[in-house]
Assembly symmetry: C2
Homo-oligomer: 405 residues x 2
């Protein structure tokens, strides 16, 4: 019998209790012994539940109980989760979390602490909810050098962009629908501004490169500037506009990270990922392209990932080394040096004029007289920005500008 | 330093040597120490390679060398692989394989033997090549009851069916192209007849249900009876014809397994999986639908999966229990009791006449006068077969009959 605690009885925390209760025999079979939830930490009271007597409002009984072998955290935010995690790991208690902010900001510290004390710090649920991504990259692709990770990591924005593409909806109307359906939070700014996707990207990139990346260092653009017109041009081109979080290994061994709306070619596995689904495309130097796809959120799917990690943590298995170490100075490529193709939507200058600034560009059939949409050949971000500024000085109005995946 | 042996220097075996050599530092980082290939078993001589001096023609030095901690097998076929596996595992040496026939026929025995001797028997590469499937089901979805596994598990037949759907190619012409491109073997019968997909299905189903399934017990149809006309009707319906390997948990807790060409609805994640790609759609009771997608074959992708398993096996981690146990008598649902919708293409009887035998059927717009294509409501396979026989007795010629996914 293994005893654990669950921190937070919200959407994910209550889901963990459901999974462990409903699939009790499955969990026992996988682990070799039963799991009992001894404590649930929450400031609120939840009377009338079969486990109402296990609620505590203070962390210290959990921390100080030697019977507790692992703790599942679903509080969200860096504090107090970080303090709780340190107190658990330094006592040899494993810590399992769905909290992407905690992992993206403090992952290297907690991984090192876990290793030092023979405990585990696991976070499958922090990226893509119930879809396995972290475990497969860490284990199944353990012999691969990861060349690229590119994902649709935020369900809310993917839902909005899908509505824009398929129905010509505006951002505002699609967001209102997402909120009505419970897909978007009342304050959706972390989703819309790309910060949620950026945290998840940092986790995946840290895993792929073996050293920590911080969200504050990653160029991040949200979907505010995407218009239904851009979605229509993307469709005309045979592709789609998606909020893509991407980490690439560049020729010089550096890492290029960014979160941005991108034009995704129709033959990319990511182009067809619609609605609230998430997908992560991982390119290994040996395995090639591998895609993981599923619901990126939801109480039970996310709780399923937490429970899978709990089984792993309670198994007593150890890691040979932490999944990643501290940030390496100089590893991150300056954004202006990152190579990509660019999509520009412009007005005020004709094709001939635009071609002077975007030589070799491919022009899409305009959807409105006086407008032009073009896709450039490969260049650095800095070169593309300079070309757009020069075209602007010559009379072009840049209506939209996004990278191409 | 961990020492291993590789059995077989063919497509996969030589790939394993390439992965371990090229990604030496990655493997060392993941495992915490380096891996050295001490022996390569092959009847042939390979002069002029950097590791030519490590070839042996006899298995006994590998078996008897206490330094060998794990063995990677890529010989194919049940024997001598089964004998070698037993000899390794009973000496506490872990055994990693890409050999689907071995796992599908002898998995329960080898898993039990590994458990008994504190070794590991791992086989990620046996299903979907370099695409992680086995590990994620076993670990990340460890707290889920798996309700269904449905996959496109054979790249050769998927290539042929994709050519049929997109270009109206015949089976013969598409097969010839697949052979020219190196996607199909000279004797493609195991692929075309569904036996390859069936072995992989048995592995996935054994994992999902926790007890062994044998290929001989699973109803298996190949793609010989699929015509370009069926592909055209599937497209008209908005879907595709795919060779689907499916295991379902039925209402009574039994297992329904089958390999068959199926009509796949356009909104299924599997409908868009084209060319030589493989995909496995796993439905967990908590995680919901999760898709794993990638190349199902190839030297380096498959070797990447073998190498990932080698790292896991050499880590010294143990399983709490074997991934599955012996076959459970009575678990398998008789095929005629399995519920599904049916697709029928017929001639010789009009819609009115057909509707007597297939009440509630949905008729597709005919592609040729005198032909009808219909999709039935949900029924058991036995009921559908009986209806087809009755329609035949009333003058209908059944030109094609496949289940609907």
């Amino acid at each position: 019998m293994k005893k654990i605690a669950v921190l937070g009885h919200g959407v994910v925390g209550s889901g963990v209790l459901t999974v462990l209760e409903k699939n009790r025999s499955q969990v026992e079979r996988a682990l070799g012994e039963p799991v009992e939830v001894k404590y649930i930490l929450d400031r609120r009271a939840f009377p009338g539940l079969p486990y109402s007597d296990r609620f505590v409002r203070d962390f210290s009984p959990i921390r100080d109980d030697p019977e507790i072998a692992a703790v599942a955290e679903a509080l969200g935010g860096v504090e107090p989760a970080f303090t709780f995690a340190k107190e658990c790991l330094s006592r040899g208690k494993s810590f399992v979390t769905s909290n992407k902010e905690l992992v993206a900001e403090k992952g290297d510290i907690l991984l090192a602490l876990a290793q030092e004390h023979g405990a585990r710090f696991l976070f499958e649920a922090s990226v893509a909810g119930g879809t396995p991504v972290i475990g497969p990259i860490r284990r199944s692709l353990g012999a691969d050098r990861i060349l690229q990770v590119a994902g649709i990591l935020n369900g809310t924005t993917n839902f909005i962009l899908t509505k824009m593409l398929r129905e010509g909806a505006t951002l505002e109307s699609a967001l209102a629908l997402a909120q009505k359906l419970g897909y978007a939070e009342r304050d959706p700014s972390a989703d819309l501004e790309g910060r949620d996707a950026c945290r998840k990207l940092c986790i995946l990139a840290s895993l792929a490169f073996g050293s920590h990346f911080y969200p504050a260092d990653v160029p991040t653009r949200g979907i505010a500037e995407v218009t239904p017109r851009d979605a229509a041009y993307a469709a005309r081109w045979g592709g789609a506009v998606k909020l893509i979080a991407r980490a690439r290994r560049t020729a010089g061994g550096r890492a290029a990270l960014e979160v941005s709306p991108m034009l995704v070619p129709g033959d990319s596995l990511l182009a067809g990922v619609g609605d609230v689904y998430n997908a992560v495309l991982v390119t290994g130097d040996m395995a090639g392209d591998v895609l993981f796809y599923g619901r990126g959120a939801g109480s039970l799917p996310t709780a399923s990932a937490v429970a899978g990690d709990l089984i792993e943590a309670l198994s007593g298995r150890r890691e040979a080394a932490p999944a990643w170490g501290p940030a390496e100075p100089g590893l991150l490529l300056p954004p202006e040096e990152a190579p990509c193709r660019g999509y520009f939507r412009t007005a005020g200058l004709d094709r001939e004029g635009l071609s002077l600034f975007f030589p070799g560009a491919f022009f899409l059939e305009p959807l409105e007289a006086g407008e032009e949409a073009l896709i450039t050949p490969l260049a650095t971000r800095g070169e593309l920005d300079a070309a757009a500024r020069a075209a602007g000085a010559a009379g072009a109005r840049i209506l939209s500008a996004f990278p191409v995946l």
